[in-house]
């Protein structure tokens, strides 16, 4: 009965109810929409990071992270392969790479790059490069002199498909090794920096150039989901001798992204809180007015023997309806607007350089996380009920005589 009366009460003054409802709806909508937007940014960041040659889990030689030189290569990939076959979940994808810093030059220009010796078939499935070659072709498994470079590098070097590019790097004998390659493919990436930084050659070509024999610099793997990384990393750490190998998850390999994720988490919550305070003033005021308008009614109820607690409950029930209704509609609208945008995405290419500076990609697709929806609604609901307590208690405190005397 309590609920029925509450429901009827809020519609006694529909205009007021609608206005405060709109405030709650806009509040909840903005919480959900903006958090989805920010999650979209971070989600894209994580994806980019992982597909830009990080992978979910990486295995390196023990000293590689501190000193990513050719000496810190893994010389026996056979050992790794056995361990992987025995321990990894069956649908894990993994690939081996040679990854060293090198100098690329042609007749006119030279610049520092990261030389990647890749296993073309596997690499294509694991990192962004699989779908990124827009001109020419990707490498063949034992391409001796083919190289795939980024569009931005091509422009910087004033070169084109079919031209020569010389790579220089230090080989295992500490000598400068150099080798001429021919550009067979040009790739595009989310970030211009990626296009400038990475050049791909086939794994055997890189190993031969650097006198690495069968050695590799890193193994990168893609799992079914981001979350499995810790588990798999732990298994691998147990299985591989700790003195020779180091296993890293994507969170550890990209501390920047992890830090940004954390910061955004805090930011989303702060935003929830701020919106709520703005909304809270409205809720208190509206409820308060509704209570004052009905002083006589409450007085009468009390005079009839209603306990103060019942009045509190009555007022709270009314706020409860307001909040829940606002939450449902707000969440619905939030979900709809995210849905509408998640197909097309939000295009930031007009400020691409700015987006890149901030580490964001050119397209943002909002992502609704159930965690955010739940938090947003919980914040609104719990705090909403708490702030309604004030007018409710106020209402319960009127003495019948005082209240009935009120005009």
């Amino acid at each position: 009965m309590n609920f029925q009366i509450g429901w009827r009460n809020i519609w006694r003054n529909p205009k007021r109810t609608l206005v405060i409802l709109s405030a709650v709806i806009i509040g909840v909508w903005s919480m959900i929409f903006l958090s989805a937007f920010m999650r979209g940014i971070t989600d894209q960041m994580v994806r980019n990071g992982i597909s830009t040659l990080t992978g979910h889990v990486q295995v390196h030689h023990k000293g590689y992270r501190d000193d990513p030189g050719i000496e810190n290569s893994m010389t026996e990939p056979g050992v790794l392969e056995t361990v992987f076959n025995n321990t990894l979940p069956p649908d894990t994808l993994w690939t081996s790479r040679v990854r060293v810093s090198a100098v690329a030059s042609n007749a006119r220009h030279s610049s520092g790059v990261t030389l990647l010796g890749a296993d073309p078939a596997k690499e294509g499935k694991i990192s962004f490069i699989g779908g990124a070659v827009t001109l020419g072709r990707f490498l063949k498994p034992d391409d001796p002199h083919g190289i795939v470079v980024g569009q931005a590098l091509v422009e910087k070097f004033e070169t084109k498909l079919g031209r020569k590019l010389v790579l220089m790097s230090q080989d295992t004998g500490r000598e400068i090794a150099s080798r001429a390659f021919r550009i067979v493919g040009i790739f595009r990436a989310e970030m211009e920096a990626t296009e400038k930084q990475f050049v791909f050659v086939s794994l055997p070509a890189a190993q031969e150039m650097l006198k690495l024999k069968k050695g590799i610099s890193e193994v990168s793997m893609i799992l079914n989901s981001h979350q499995e990384a810790n588990e798999v990393a732990a298994v691998l750490r147990d299985a591989l001798p700790a003195n020779d190998y180091e296993v890293q998850t994507w969170q550890e390999a990209m501390p920047m992204v992890t830090a940004i994720l954390k910061m955004y988490d805090g930011f989303v919550f702060l935003w929830f809180f701020v919106v709520f305070i703005a909304m809270g003033f409205g809720i208190v005021n509206t409820t308060l007015m509704a209570v004052y308008e009905r002083i006589r009614e409450f007085g009468l109820l009390k005079a009839l023997g209603m306990k103060p607690w019942w009045i509190v409950r009555q007022v709270l029930t009314e706020s409860f309806y307001l909040l829940v209704l606002g939450m449902i509609i707000g969440t619905g609208l939030g979900a709809l607007s995210v849905l509408a945008l998640s197909g097309t995405g939000i295009d930031l290419s007009s400020v691409a350089a700015g987006a890149e500076f901030a580490g964001m990609s050119r397209m943002i697709y909002p992502v609704v996380e159930s965690k955010d929806v739940v938090t947003a609604n919980l914040v609104v609901f719990i705090l909403g009920i708490i702030v309604s307590l004030y007018p409710a208690i106020k209402a319960a405190r009127f003495t019948p005589i005082e209240a009935m005397a009120h005009n």
Binding site: A23, G112, M168, I176, A259, A278, T286, L288, A355, F357
Partner: protein, 406 residues
């Protein structure tokens, strides 16, 4: 009369004032914070590397081609010295080269700097962590970034072999000693450059007296455009044969200004949403105030008050509330902001992130007329608009009906 009306229901008015004050407080603080962080970002990038203004040969910025040199920097120096807004200037030359230690070889950018003048333009001198900065007479000495030093396995006094290409295409090779190691916190900067004396650079790379960049620092960020136009004009008058361009920091680091614009726009979206939420809360108060007093208005109308005056009275009441709220908000907001402007805000846990963008760990919001007025202005406009609706509503009241209402 409006003033008295407001205090007929003090609780309601105070709550409304609080809501408005809260919104303006937040806006003052957030805008000051944004402006402060932009200043820090710009300063960090400008002071570490680019300077406010650079004079280069056309296309050098994009192509970084060694051959695009500024042949006669001396003429530019006197031009810069005659521009009163320029605080200091220096020149640099860059060449991408192979640098090897005993064990390691990396491709890095070798930058020739003028030790004395560089110290007035960039923060390099303060970034030296080990050893010492270059002195004017130094010849085959180098400053190395901390990460590069680590990667090359070199320490102070160790030798580095530089192998590159001279201006005329010949091989430029030399051996330098590490004199100092600098660390800016920005990985890219610390990993990929070494600095040698400009005179020595010009000798090794066969540059003669040419340089690649003439870098200037203005007395303040605001004067950059003025300096730019003055120097552009000066170059036109004195130096016709060389194909020089004047670039300001926004052109030198296009990502930075776009990132700032993006942050501003997204900030404004947040603020507008916040204010709309506040506005709805306020609308209710104003609307209620009118409904509640329907009878009173009926009486007022019946005794001959024109509807226009009634509306005016209501707008007056709501503006008073709004302005009170905004004034409180601005005062409190300024106080809070001012406190942090003096003490700084420690962003704990994000130091790595801040370092990446070259920002200090402690951030200082910047209180300015702009940051105070923008937020308050938006709040004022939106709330007054909100208040108009109930006021117009009141215009349509008819005395007889109104007096019948409870």
């Amino acid at each position: 009369m409006a003033w008295r009306n407001i205090w007929r229901n003090p609780r309601r008015s105070i709550l409304t004032i609080c809501a408005i004050a809260f919104a303006s407080l937040l806006l003052v603080f957030m805008l000051s914070w944004q402006f402060g962080s932009y200043d820090a970002m710009i300063n960090a990038s400008v002071k570490i590397s680019t300077g406010h203004i650079q004079v280069q040969t056309k296309d050098y910025q994009e192509k970084r081609d060694m051959r695009l040199v500024v042949r006669d920097p001396e003429a530019l120096y006197s031009l810069l010295e005659n521009t009163p807004e320029v605080a200091s200037h220096t020149s640099r030359a860059n060449a991408f080269s192979l640098v090897s230690s005993e064990n390691r070889t990396y491709g890095v950018l070798v930058v020739g700097i003028d030790p004395l003048r560089e110290a007035n333009v960039s923060t390099l001198k303060k970034l030296i962590r080990q050893g010492s900065y270059l002195s004017p007479g130094d010849w085959d000495q180098a400053l190395v970034g901390a990460l590069l030093a680590k990667n090359l396995h070199v320490g102070l006094g160790d030798e580095l072999v530089i192998l590159g290409q001279g201006l005329d295409g010949s091989v430029a090779a030399t051996v330098v000693k590490v004199k100092g190691i600098f660390s800016s916190g920005q990985d890219e900067f610390d990993r990929s450059t070494i600095r040698i004396p400009l005179k020595y650079f010009q000798d090794v790379y066969g540059m003669g007296s040419a340089v690649h960049e003439v870098v200037a620092l203005g007395k303040s960020l605001k004067q950059v455009q003025e300096i730019k136009s003055k120097i552009t004009a000066g170059i036109k008058n004195t130096n016709k044969e060389e194909n020089l361009v004047v670039l300001d920091w926004m052109e030198l680091i296009p990502g930075l200004i776009q990132a700032i614009q993006m942050d501003l726009v997204s900030g404004f979206i947040f603020y507008i949403i916040l204010i709309v939420v506040v506005a709805f809360s306020i609308l209710n108060t104003f609307l209620m105030a009118v409904f509640e007093r329907t009878r009173e208005f009926g009486v007022l109308l019946a005794v001959g008050t024109t509807p226009g005056r009634l509306a005016k009275l209501l707008i007056f009441e709501s503006s008073t509330i709004t302005i009170l709220g905004i004034v409180f908000g601005i005062i409190l907001g300024s106080l809070v902001t001012w406190y942090f402007q003096v003490h700084g805000i420690l962003i704990s846990g994000a130091s790595e992130l801040m370092r990446h963008y070259g920002l200090p760990e402690r951030m200082y919001p910047q209180l300015s007329m702009l940051s105070i007025s923008i937020g308050a202005g938006i709040v004022l406009i939106i709330t007054i608009l909100t208040a108009l609706y109930p006021a117009f509503k009141s215009k349509r009241l008819r005395p007889v009906d109104a007096m019948k209402a409870i």
